[in-house]
């Protein structure tokens, strides 16, 4: 990750070590994961041991230490979504994106993940793509969305 970007994030939080969590979130928002060089830079800049940042990054499910795709596709597998067929959505997306749930497609474009309830059960089944909520969805509808995105990426 570009050092200048990391620096800008640290400066935004006034170089405050107690803002570590927010800094980590901002880095992940930029890169979709926590690049190691960024972690090391933050540690050095804030005078925090890398061991502590690593510990925090592995404690919270929402942090990722491995690179993820350009687009993040999250299927809700909470109870309400599950009983409304979320499993079929996962299988459909696995086929469309050519990646197993939990992984990133070979071209680095899509990461497919599962989550247990995002608190919008009335909208189930639910898929979140790059922060956009696709509620009351079906295999056909969600397939259309991602294949559309794939075309757009391919057309560039």
């Amino acid at each position: 990750m570009d050092t200048a970007k990391v620096e800008a994030i640290i400066t935004k939080h006034n170089g405050d070590a107690t803002a570590l969590l927010a800094i980590m979130q901002d880095i992940q928002a930029e890169e979709n994961y926590l690049p190691r060089d960024a972690v090391e830079h933050v540690a050095k800049k804030l005078g925090i041991p890398i061991s502590r940042i690593y510990s925090m990054a592995t404690f919270f499910e929402s942090f990722h230490l491995e690179p993820r795709g350009k687009h993040i596709c999250t299927v809700c597998m909470g109870t309400a979504c599950h009983v409304r067929g979320a499993q079929r959505l996962v299988e459909q997306l696995e086929r469309d994106l050519k990646v197993m749930s939990g992984g990133t497609s070979e071209d680095g474009l899509f990461t497919l993940e599962e989550v247990n309830c995002v608190g919008a059960c009335a909208l189930g089944p639910l898929v979140i793509i790059d922060g956009k909520y696709h509620g009351n969805t079906t295999s056909a509808k969600i397939s259309k969305v991602v294949t559309g995105m794939q075309k757009e990426e391919g057309g560039k």
Binding site: P49, S51, R52, I53, Y54, S55, T58, F59, L65
Partner: protein
């Protein structure tokens, strides 16, 4: 500020805010502990140090290591109820640890097998090699050695203790403090053929010999000392340091 408390009927004096466990021990009473060491901040993770505390007329069982002493506490360190609760804590621990030290302490409380043992817990115990995730190694390395090579990883049943990115910690000075405080003796501190090893962290450092051919300590550790104390780089090589 000095406060007065009662331990098993004996009047005791202590500093306000002191660790209750430390005070109990100072007065000669025996309370088991696994995750506590006087050199580091208490964290109360193992729960075997529990005692009965009466504060303002209310009685409860509490971990004593991270209980801050205050005026008027009335403490009981041994009773049927206390022993039963410590036994339960140890039975739970025994399901996930095969360390001889845990087996021994559990046996003292009449626990020789665990009702909580499953295939999964056995696999976990084997994987952790006895470690009870007490975090003493983490705290001593950060607070005393000031290297902070270690920390926890993950959470829940995936929680583990180790080094960042599970790699050999390049900042570890192989001082052995972590192995010294570890209650389960699972870190694996050995010295052989002029090399000091910490097996759990996969760290190996060659031992420096001084000009007279006497082994002094791991080279990188001595480098760390000379840097910290502002000594000449060849201080130990030239025979400096404590008499050998």
């Amino acid at each position: 500020m000095t406060v007065e408390i009662t331990i098993n009927g004996v009047k005791a004096k202590a500093e306000k805010g002191e660790s209750l466990l430390e005070v109990i021990r100072k007065y000669g009473f025996d309370v088991p502990s696994l995750c506590h060491h006087h050199a580091v901040e208490p964290c109360g993770s193992c729960r075997v140090c529990l005692v009965s505390v009466t504060d303002n007329g209310r009685t409860k069982l509490a971990a004593s290591c991270n209980y801050k002493v205050r005026e008027g506490l009335d403490i009981t360190t041994d009773s049927e109820e206390i022993r039963r609760n410590r036994a339960m804590v140890l039975e739970l621990m025994l399901a996930e640890s095969n360390a001889p030290a845990i087996q021994k302490l559990a046996a003292e409380y009449g626990v020789t097998s665990s009702r909580f043992e499953t295939e999964e817990s056995k696999a976990l115990a084997a994987e952790r090699d006895g470690c009870i995730l007490c975090g003493l190694c983490v705290r001593v390395c950060e607070e005393v050695v000031e290297v902070a090579a270690l920390n926890f990883k993950g959470r829940g049943d995936k929680r583990d203790v180790g080094t960042p990115y599970q790699e050999t910690p390049q900042n570890c000075i192989a001082c052995g403090a972590c192995a010294y405080v570890c209650p389960t003796d699972c870190i694996g501190f050995v010295e052989e053929n002029g090399v000091r090893k910490l097996k759990k962290w996969n760290r190996e450092l060659p031992i420096l010999k001084d000009d007279a051919g006497r082994p002094v300590g791991p080279q990188f550790q001595l480098f760390y000392f000379t840097q910290k104390a502002g000594l000449p780089a060849d201080f130990y090589k030239k025979g400096g340091g404590p008499a050998r």
